[in-house]
């Protein structure tokens, strides 16, 4: 009886794997077809994962307070859209976006200052490198203490988390221009700002986008974790920590789904933007 679920799931897995295998090996002449197939393959893979999950939950009758099956999570998502939306607004639209913009912005400005002053570059950069590697989430309780319960304290955590990756990457990017390119500007007797705007910033773009992409996932995680240390009674982190205690684990997964969706979409958006801005980079060039 319960084995039926597991066997079905495994069969589904094997079938999708076989389909993917066939799809991946073929090259399609038509570009749009190829693009569609490139999306279809991971989607099928994801579907196989979900079916396997469902099968295991049902097959082994896993208690739903431990791990609810995807179908139950989906039902919860569709029935709690209003709560999910309110939480999303609180955590993402307020804390994450504000923190992301401020953190990346100040990291960028700091990078330019650091770049202008070699002494700071020597002194601040090793420290920045170190801080970028620190368990910043540990700052969350302190931020709540300093900036209060509402979203500003979460935004502050996001600012700290995103600041250093941006600083470090931008400084690296500004240093990434070739000697010849810089000498060229020198032969034009170009001043610091002209060189910065016309040469070094464009050349640093791949690095800056690298930081933006890293930060897009860091920011969401930071904001959610910070909500564990005190919030008003709305927000994705609040909901996650509260609903676990209420044994509504399906709601927890609904929030995780929203987080993963928001994170993947922001990442994808930034990747598209990157492609548009650094179209000239060898990795994107179409001849």
């Amino acid at each position: 009886m319960s084995m039926v679920f597991i066997v079905t799931a495994l069969v589904f897995w094997i079938v999708t794997w076989a389909i993917n295998n066939a799809l991946a090996k073929r090259r399609f002449k038509d570009r749009t077809v190829q693009a569609g197939v490139d999306i279809l393959i991971p989607v099928l893979f994801g579907a196989a994962l979900l079916v396997l999950w469902e099968g295991i939950c049902r097959g082994f009758s896993v208690p739903t307070v431990l791990l609810p099956p995807p179908s139950m999570i989906w039902a919860r998502i569709t029935s709690s859209l209003d709560i999910l939306w309110a939480d999303f607004q609180q955590t993402y639209m307020k804390a994450v976006l504000a923190g992301f913009v401020m953190g990346c912005g100040s990291g960028f400005i700091a990078a330019i200052i650091v770049d202008r002053i070699p002494f700071l570059r020597k002194g601040l950069l090793p420290i920045g490198n170190l801080v970028a590697a620190l368990p910043i989430v540990g700052m969350a309780p302190i931020m709540v203490m300093w900036f209060g319960f509402d979203w500003p304290s979460k935004a502050a955590v996001v600012v700290i988390m995103t600041f250093f990756p941006m600083l470090v990457n931008t400084v690296a990017g500004l240093g990434a221009t070739g000697h010849i390119e810089r000498d060229l500007m020198h032969t034009y007797a170009s001043n610091y700002w002209q060189t910065l705007i016309k040469l070094r910033l464009p050349a640093a773009m791949p690095f800056i986008f690298n930081a933006l992409k890293i930060n897009s996932t860091l920011a969401l995680i930071g904001a959610i974790v910070a909500e564990f240390f005190g919030t008003p009674i709305v927000g994705m982190g609040f909901r996650i920590s509260t609903e676990v205690g209420r044994m509504n684990v399906d709601m927890v997964w609904a929030e995780i789904f929203v987080a993963a969706l928001a994170g993947s979409l922001s990442y994808g958006l930034l990747a598209l933007l990157e492609r548009a801005v650094t179209f000239w980079h060898p990795s994107y060039r179409s001849k």
């Binding site: 307070v65 203490m145 209060g148 319960f149 005190g230 009674i233 205690g245 209420r246």
Partner: protein
């Protein structure tokens, strides 16, 4: 010896002194038991732990346990070492709060994670909205400490008589600066820190026997702790892995906890149970539990005690 695992509701502190004392003093051993005590924490949900098989017995508050029961974790109360509730709402006097009538428009700190039910019941009995709408109160998810009241981010915070209240005092506010509302006095007290097991375990007589010995030895631990509060506090300290607890605080906590556990042999009084259920059902439009629970407690274990 028979093995049992006990999942605490919170970190190692004098709130659970009875169990640590029973283990340390060999009461469990005498009863032929080998008890493993698992400390809890802010994000450990004991019902989830027991549903996953991580514990045989958990300590939980009854509102949370009954709510979990409705969510499909068939918890049954087998004993109730805490007779009285230690929950309070502590407010700064300078906010002008004198009685619950002054709550509207104020910001109140509340523990969530299944600990919010007593508060929500109380507010709905007072007819105060908690969703931020007009005429209601503003609710904050209070973190692990009492900072919100110290930093004036909240007008009132939730406290336990034996713990957070004293943290406020330690932080420099005096008793005169504070106004306190005990849930007991407001008539909305619910049962705290009961022992719960899964319903199916009770079908096994050997298990019931084991549990009976466990409850009895634990109560012996509580008696000992009540009589020797300082020694009990020291035992707790020894068992604290974080090394963060202070002797002063634990000794004081032990004395306060003793007031709550005094005068019970672990049996759940049916009146207390009914009062708790009534409070929870009184919750207006959004009651904590949807109907009177069936078989949510049993005396089979305590009846077997000698």
């Amino acid at each position: 010896a028979d093995k049992l695992t006990l999942q605490l509701k919170w970190v190692t502190q004098a709130q659970f002194a009875g169990y640590y004392v029973a283990k340390d003093k060999g009461f469990y051993e005498e009863a032929g038991l080998d008890i493993e005590i698992k400390a809890g924490g802010p994000d450990i949900a004991p019902p989830q732990v027991i549903a996953g098989g991580g514990a045989d017995v958990i300590i939980d508050w009854m509102p949370s346990a009954l709510a979990s029961r409705e969510k499909g974790v068939p918890l049954v109360n087998i004993a109730q070492p805490f007779k009285r509730s230690g929950m309070m709402l502590t407010c700064r006097k300078d906010t002008g709060i004198k009685s619950p009538d002054d709550f509207p428009g104020k910001t109140l700190g509340v523990w969530f994670f299944g600990n919010e039910y007593p508060f929500l019941s109380w507010m709905s009995q007072l007819g105060l909205a908690t969703d931020g709408s007009d005429g209601g109160v503003t609710v904050l998810k209070q973190g692990f400490n009492v900072d919100p009241i110290l930093q004036k981010q909240a007008d009132c915070v939730s406290t336990m008589t034996y713990n957070e209240y004293w943290q406020i005092i330690d932080a420099g506010l005096s008793e005169d600066d504070l106004v306190t509302f005990k849930y007991e006095n407001a008539g909305v007290a619910t049962l705290e820190d009961g022992l719960y097991v899964l319903e199916e375990d009770l079908a096994d007589p050997a298990m019931v026997d084991k549990l009976a010995r466990f409850v009895q030895a634990s109560m012996k631990g509580w008696r000992y702790a009540e009589e020797n509060p300082d020694e009990a506090a020291d035992i707790v300290l020894e068992n604290d892995d974080t090394g963060a607890q202070t002797e002063e605080h634990q000794r004081r906590m032990m004395r306060e906890v003793a007031k709550l556990t005094a005068g019970t042999d672990g049996r759940l009084s049916e009146d207390d149970y009914n009062r708790t259920v009534a409070t929870l059902l009184a919750g207006g439009s959004d009651p904590v539990i949807s109907g009177p629970p069936q078989n949510a407690w049993t005396s089979v274990v305590t009846d077997k005690m000698m």
